[in-house]
Homo-oligomer: 283 residues x 2
DNA sequence: CGGTTTTACGGAACACGTAACCATG
DNA sequence: CATGGTTACGTGTTCCGTAAAACCG
């Protein structure tokens, strides 16, 4: 199967309409129609049921859509990584969301820079939940992921640290003076809605900047990893949540990577995190 | 990047010789040479350093070789799975090595057959360490893997059970009467060399049949998971190894799979394993 | 009829093979 | 000088776009 054919099929399967798919691909409908027919002939399988008014996926089509998307991103990833590896200045690209390093990164970068095999590290800040995509498609070599929110499947990972959660509140909130709270104390509060989560009816937010702004305005409160307290606005307070989730910070990279600079970076990050945990436990 | 180009590159990168690579691909050298040039031009990266006597990989070439191999197998996997999904009789293919189910599979199959959404399950017996390949390339939907020997990275997995190891001996071996042994007791013994392991100087073996035969002949002894005792030849004995590794049996499947019959099978396997563990713990 | 997919046809691009060429050990 | 990669050139396939036809609500 040629990757071009597969990309064509994925476009049609996503649009469920040959015309729109062709427009998206920048070609005319007829070649697209023929390409799909040829693909079906070669596979010996019907992928799409079409009437002249409706296109739908067969079971085989659904399978090829899911698995094919993965195959295409893997292919693009290979291409991007090879391109990057060919650049004259070797470098690592690390992607994280704002605050997604639990305050570890600065120290990791400093320490890594002292390493004999160190290369330049480009830190790329992305939106929430975008890390995986950049790592999968080869734009980045390393990503900071947060369990259980992010999905590390398909990557090699190393656990850096595990944190309790805190609830972030306006200074004059009824719970602001508490030493700690339980989740049950938060019943009835308005919690923000992160873009992908359906439940709860609070305001829709996309990043922590928006959340903190809304908290400061008294429109919501949020349960976040403890490390947010490192850079919290002065007008907000954080109270530990006794029975909150444990969130784990991971550093993730492509399983295929055999790069020595990358391995060194991961090792450094793990060492710094281990030291950090020791300090926290002691303090 | 077209998958054909990538396959050409991988062939050259593996052979480090355009002529042999062309022969392997079933084409003439010149088109291959041009295809590689075109790929390099399109990526804007030099992948191979060639003199007329020697071909070697650049850094970018190494990256593309590793990542590209993965991309190609993912592509083939998508193709195989789509083909299989298009067949009239839906079925699951489970791959394992002989004895690789720790005696669980029969019960799992029986119980799964009673499930309302059950489909036919084809059990495929492969050589040692071949499971991953068949799962990766889409030939199988499910595999039984054994930690730490097999590598489950890139798959979704569910732990079934964890076993101690036993040492398998000829009946009149000096240790055969022991209730248990330690690894240090085995110092000086000749251990078999599994195909991929370099150390140890014992006989090279490929499957448990060969191993048991050699043990019966007094040529070697072997440390294996406890479950081998379920089907051990009468002329051999097994002695628990106190400080042996713990080996974990996993059931693994493609992360992309969204198939309900597959999910049901995994659930059934986990349930049966849990019950089994309960029995063992009690007994 | 209206919107959508498929068939028909002509042209351009691409990939292949043979043969000649060139470079290095 | 021989082994092995590259360039040159002619041929066949494939892929595309336009135009016309078939299909279904």
């Amino acid at each position: 199967m040629e990757s071009r054919e597969l990309a064509y099929f994925v476009a049609v399967a996503e649009e469920l309409n040959f015309g729109r798919a062709a427009a998206r691909l920048g070609i005319a409908q007829p070649p697209l129609s023929r390409a799909i027919q040829q693909l079906e002939r070669r596979l010996g399988v019907t992928l799409l049921e079409r009437t002249s008014r409706q296109v739908s996926l067969t079971t085989a089509g659904e399978v090829l859509l899911h698995e094919g998307r993965k195959a295409l991103t893997t292919l693009e990833s290979a291409e991007r990584r090879a391109k990057r590896a060919g650049r004259v200045d070797p470098r690592l690209v690390l992607v994280m969301k704002p605050g997604g390093d639990a305050g570890l990164l600065e120290q990791v970068l400093d320490r890594y820079a002292e390493h004999p095999e160190a290369v330049e590290v480009e830190v790329m800040i992305c939106g929430i939940g975008e890390q995986e995509g950049f790592l999968r498609d080869g734009t980045a070599d390393l990503a900071m992921l947060r369990l259980p929110h992010d999905d590390p499947s398909g990557f090699a990972t190393e656990e850096l640290l595990t944190e309790r959660e805190v609830v972030v509140l306006q200074r004059n909130h009824r719970l602001a003076g508490r030493k700690s709270v339980r989740m049950s104390d938060l019943a009835g509060e308005i919690l923000p809605r992160w873009t992908d989560e359906c439940p709860s009816s609070g305001p829709v937010v996309r990043d922590t900047g928006q959340v903190t702004q809304l908290i400061a305005l008294g429109r919501t409160i949020a349960v976040l990893p403890q490390s947010v307290t490192l850079h919290l606005r002065r007008d907000l307070v954080a109270v530990p949540v006794i029975d909150g989730h444990l969130t784990t910070l991971l550093i993730a990279w492509s399983e295929e990577s055999r790069s020595r600079p990358l391995a060194a970076f991961v090792r450094t990050a793990a060492e710094v995190a281990a030291a950090h945990t020791g300090v926290e436990a002691a303090g």
